[in-house]
């Protein structure tokens, strides 16, 4: 899923400081799965904003709604009659949501409630970890199912570097050295020679470095 973290409350309050009436729009997609922007979190944020503004003596009306997804025009269209009624709309979806909403409703202001970080999955309930950097040329099959682009701090293809210590990355003991894991697995499976072959330089054109990307299925386009 796409992983995100809710923005600090101070930043959110700053965004709506000139508003009297806002709508918080949640999303049942990725942000629900990583517990940051679904119905429940919309409710919590609504209450928090109301508390903060009540304390200031400038009450804020906060309405709540959660839609299926904010990355498909069909769902964005569902809020057509509502979005105009507010001073601003706070989207709790990933970075895609507020942008799609802004394009569909150019006369309204859409604020992002979350900082979108990465593509990843849950390690356990409440902990989500990055797994994919969206480089556009997946090569995990060369590394026994592990991605050095996303999971090595230096994205090296011939690791580990000299900073790998006790299975941890030099930048932090909280970060596993993926290269240590790759080498251990290759050694275990007797495939170490895979790692001694030179890998070609990465072609970053398929990654964000090559510019904003678009995927097209010609057979589906009307």
């Amino acid at each position: 899923m796409i992983i995100a973290d809710r923005k600090p409350l101070g930043e959110l309050l700053e965004m709506v400081k000139d508003c009297n009436k806002v709508l918080i729009l949640g999303c049942k997609g990725c942000v629900t799965v990583c517990n940051v922007g679904g119905t429940k979190e919309v409710g919590v944020l609504a209450s928090i904003l109301k508390i903060a503004r009540k304390k200031e003596g400038r009450p804020l009306q906060v309405d709540e709604k959660t839609i299926e997804r904010q990355c498909d025009p069909e769902y964005i269209a569902l809020v057509k009659d509502q979005v105009g009624q507010y001073d601003a709309v706070i989207s709790m979806a990933c970075g895609v949501g507020p942008q799609f909403l802004s394009e569909a409703y150019p006369d309204q202001r859409f604020f992002p409630a979350v900082n979108t970080t990465s593509f990843g999955g849950a390690l356990q309930h409440g902990i989500w970890s990055e797994r994919c950097a969206g480089c556009g040329t997946c090569l995990i099959h060369h590394f026994d199912g592990m991605c050095p682009i996303a999971r090595c701090s230096k994205s090296i293809l011939h690791g580990p570097c000299g900073g790998s210590a006790k299975g941890k990355c030099e930048i932090s003991k909280e970060v596993d050295c993926i290269w240590d894991m790759i080498v251990q697995k290759k050694m275990e499976k007797g495939r170490l020679e895979d790692l001694t072959k030179m890998k070609p330089n990465k072609d970053w054109r398929t990654a964000r470095d090559g510019g904003p990307r678009k995927s097209v299925r010609e057979d589906l386009v009307q």
Partner: protein, 310 residues
């Protein structure tokens, strides 16, 4: 001496079979040429080449190619270091040509410490290619006379190519294979991370010699003399990939107040004596960082002076 790859002093010393000695000098945190000259002046004539670090530990300093050029202008041979952290492949090829044009003939290819360590942690990460690929790149430029994209180079850079090796990082069993890969990719010489755990290093060298790596590239053992107990403890705890045995810290402490530095130098000299005889080693890389003025004394006491004229 024909078929030299670069004609650098370091290359000639190693080719002639002498036990080489290289030093290190970090450029200043500014354009202070006088300070830089003062630093490397201690090393002139005392070592065969001086490593010039590249924004070491991700702290901004005068660029390594510029500091290398200053060195050349003052009669000292640099070993120009380039890390993969700050430059993409365009800048790398461009800087290699620039450095060569300024007279640089030795180059060390490194990954580089992650920018979170340094004084600009907010910076964007480059790491376009890794150190292995950089070695391969420099070799391609030198031996094929081509850029990465196979276009011809208008006067190719003939560098003597070096790589770093850390026998103390994990996983230990893989380090010698990685060293072999670096040599296969293009490394002519290797400088290891500074050594304190002699047992582990002896083990590592045995594996390297078994693989015949010492015949394919010249391996220089890294030494950094300990200045104090505090330094030893810091390196043991806070520097990733560093292996400092408790026995060494004890030894330094046991030397008594104010005497740890001399004990540290004594340990370094003992290491040098062993390395001179160790199979597979072609020299020493002495990294007396911010202690350059002690290098002549250490070199003298270790019997490494005078340096051979080739």
């Amino acid at each position: 001496m024909n078929d030299l790859k670069s004609g650098s002093n370091l290359e000639k010393v190693l080719r002639a079979g002498h036990f080489a000695l290289t030093g290190e000098c970090g450029p200043p945190k500014g354009a202070n040429v006088e300070h830089l000259k003062e630093k490397f002046s201690h090393l002139k004539g005392v070592v065969d080449a001086v490593n010039v670090t590249d924004n070491q530990t991700a702290v901004v300093r005068m660029s390594s190619w510029a500091a290398s050029a200053v060195m050349i202008q003052n009669g000292v041979e640099p070993n120009f270091q380039m890390v993969c952290r700050d430059r993409n492949r365009l800048a790398m090829q461009s800087d290699i040509l620039g450095a060569y044009a300024m007279g640089v003939r030795n180059m060390l290819c490194l990954s580089g410490d992650h920018q979170t360590f340094g004084n600009h942690p907010q910076a964007k990460n480059v790491y376009d290619i890794d150190s292995m690929q950089l070695l391969s790149l420099v070799k391609k430029m030198r031996d094929e006379g081509k850029f990465l994209n196979d276009e011809d180079i208008d006067v190719p850079p003939k560098m003597f190519i070096g790589a770093a090796s850390n026998p103390f990082a994990d996983p230990f069993e893989f380090r010698v294979h990685r060293l072999a890969m670096k040599i296969a990719a293009g490394a002519d010489f290797i400088q290891t991370q500074c050594i304190y755990n002699m047992d582990k290093f002896r083990n590592f060298m045995k594996m390297a010699v078994d693989m015949g790596l010492h015949e394919k590239a010249r391996i220089l053992a890294g030494i950094t003399p300990m200045k104090s107990v505090g330094m030893a403890q810091y390196m043991a705890k806070s520097v990733p990939g560093m292996d400092v045995p408790e026995s060494l810290i004890k030894r330094l402490r046991g030397a008594g107040k104010g005497k740890a530095a001399e004990e540290g130098i004594q340990f370094a000299i003992e290491q040098i004596q062993e390395f001179k005889e160790m199979k597979g080693l072609a020299g020493i890389h002495l990294m007396a960082i911010e202690w350059e003025h002690r290098v002549p004394e250490i070199a003298e006491r270790a019997g490494l002076l005078p340096r051979p004229k080739v």
